[in-house]
Each structure stands twice: as C-alpha cells, then as structure tokens.
C-alpha cells in the first residue's frame, strides 16, 4: 500500500489554489464571467472535498473542476458572446489561446489538452484529476490535439 497523503483542511487547499484558478478562469472566460465561474468552481470543490481519498493531484483536481465549469459556462453562452474581452493589464500568455482554441473539444480532451500544454501537469496528475489512468490521459490529450490540427487545416 502506498502512504496516503493527508488531505489538508479546505482553507489551506483554497489558499494554495485560489489565485491561480482565478487567473486561469479569467483567461478562459474573461473577467466578468470568471467571477461566477470562480464561485462555482470552489463550491463544487467544497462539495466534492469529503469524497477525496488522498491529497495527491489536488492542484490538478482544482484545474479540472475549473475547466468543467468553464466548459459549462461556454455552452450556456450565445455564440456571438463567445469571445471574451480581456483586460489590457493581463498580458496574454500562449496557453490562454489554447484555452479558447480548445473550447469546444469534448470536456475530457479539453481538460487534458489545457492541463498538459497550458499548465504543464504530468499525465499521471491529469489521469488522477480526470478519474482515469495515466494512459487514458495521454490518449485524451493526443486525440484532442489531433482534433485541433484537423480543424486548423
């Protein structure tokens, strides 16, 4: 048996992840929509927290919830509102484009692509975050990338 990593009190998880999740959501959705998505992300995290069995991949788990919330949010929006305005103070890194680009991929592929190429998480982390294996995460990311390539040619 591997040693279980103790799950920290929620306050500590929140303190450790809130800032980067906020930045991530602003980049994916624009500042206004990110406010609701931020609340929704951490409320979902709070509801899921008692069901966690260990604390490995907690950061990846937070990104996955945020990604799903952002995908839901985008689905709810009308197409002509789909491209968010971004604040000028936020110089836009390359992976932000990735979030927009990957926006209508199937949720699992999107999460795998964004977490792998945008946030440099390992496949093991992504697999754990998506509730699947390392191999399945690798598979989801590469099929997401193939889909994006097909679309851009």
């Amino acid at each position: 048996m591997m040693n279980a990593v103790a799950i920290p009190p929620f306050e500590r998880f929140y303190a450790d992840t809130s800032e980067e999740i906020w930045r991530y959501l602003v980049r994916l959705l624009g500042r206004d929509a990110a406010e609701d998505a931020y609340q929704e992300t951490f409320l979902r995290a709070l509801r899921g927290y008692p069901k966690l069995s260990h604390a490995r991949h907690l950061r990846a788990w937070a990104y996955t919830i945020a990604t799903r919330v952002a995908v839901d949010e985008r689905r709810r929006r009308k197409p002509d509102e789909a491209v968010p305005e971004l604040g000028a103070e936020d110089s836009r890194p390359a992976y932000a484009e990735l979030g927009d680009l990957a926006g209508d991929l199937p949720a699992t592929e999107r999460a795998a692509v964004v977490l792998r190429y945008g946030y440099d998480l390992t496949y093991a982390d992504i697999g754990a975050a998506l509730g699947s294996s390392e191999a399945a995460a690798r598979q989801a990311a590469s099929s997401g990338v193939r889909r994006l390539r097909r679309r851009s040619t």
């Binding site: 009190p9 929620f10 929140y14 609340q39």
Partner: protein, 187 residues
C-alpha cells in the same frame, strides 16, 4: 493578479450560507488578546488564544471534518456575545457549544463546569465531587486543561484547593483578567 477581496468574501459567505462547511472560523480581538472562534452547525466548538490558525485548522479538520473555512457571518452571534461579556454586560452565554468530538469523560466535566456561575469559583476537587468522581481531581484538571472552548465554558472559574489560581492553558495572566472582570478576585 490576485483574487479580488470582494469575490473571495462572497465565496466564503456563500459556502457558509449553503451549509457546505463542517467548521466556519474567524479571528477577532478581545481584551485577553486575539482569538480564533470556530463553530460547527451545532455550536461553537473552539475558542483559541493562539491567533495563528495553522495547527488549529488541523485539529478542527480532524475533529469535525475537512471543510474548514474562514467565514465571519456564522460567527457574528458568538462574537457579539463575547463582546458583551468583555464589556461586563453579559453574565451568561446563550450560544450553543458543540463538544461532541470530545471523549465522554471530558464532556461530563465540561457540562458540569458550565453550571459554575459568573463571578463564582470552584475547586478541582469540588468539580470532581459534583460529577460523582471525588477521587478524580487530577483527571478533572486534565480535562479542563484541554477545554476547547475557554471563556464560554468557564474553566477559568476553577481554582486550586487553597483558592490559588494555578494552571490555565491560556496563561495565568488571562485567567486572572477573566476572574477580575467577573469580580471574583479581590485585588
């Protein structure tokens, strides 16, 4: 780009309002120093003289559940009662306490302790007798020393057999201050 404070606060209040927390806590100041005050849905479960929350949060999570979050609204009532107490306007606390996570002997001691009224004192031996365990004065002392809700559950009202102040987990200076506030000390 940090999380806007108003957004952070909104999340915390909403988490509490939707009943998603095992424990809400806040930090507040008082004449005996900064306090950490924490409550479950059943009542106040912790008042700590150590305003550094780090190891308190671990204890709260272990005892009451992992979803421990700073959120001030659920603590508004307890904070008001504490302020009134420190202003000398309140002699009895009405706020419920949650001692459910404690061993049963400690619960027994702390339940009995809450019957010692404002401005009075009792001895360890006296309290041991009142719970029907006259030879357990030392165990009673141990239970009081680990009282998670000092001030409200008034372990400061328990003194040595000679009337001396003896130990207090929050320090003798605080014990003296609380007893003086209640007029239980001849200074």
């Amino acid at each position: 780009m940090t999380v806007p404070e108003v957004l952070d606060e909104r999340f915390r209040e909403r988490a509490a309002a939707e009943g998603e927390l095992d424990v809400a806590y806040t930090l507040t100041d008082s004449p005996v120093g900064d306090l950490l005050v924490a409550a479950t849905k059943r009542g106040v479960c912790r008042i700590s003289f150590d305003p550094e929350p780090e190891h308190e949060l671990e204890w709260l999570a272990r005892s009451y559940g992992l979803r421990v979050l700073r959120a001030s609204r659920p603590l508004d009532g307890p904070r008001r009662e504490l302020d009134e107490y420190f202003d000398g306007k309140r002699k009895e606390f009405e706020l419920p306490v949650d001692l459910a996570a404690l061993p049963s002997f400690q619960q027994l001691v702390l339940d009995e302790l809450q019957l010692v009224p404002y401005g009075a004192t009792a001895t360890y031996g006296g309290l041991a007798e009142r719970i029907g365990r006259p030879r357990a004065a030392r165990a009673v002392g141990g239970a009081l020393n680990k009282n998670p809700v000092p001030i409200v559950v008034p372990c400061h009202r328990i003194v040595g057999a000679s009337g001396s102040l003896v130990g207090y987990a929050g320090g003798l200076e605080r014990k003296e201050k609380l007893l003086a506030l209640e007029g239980a000390l001849l200074s």
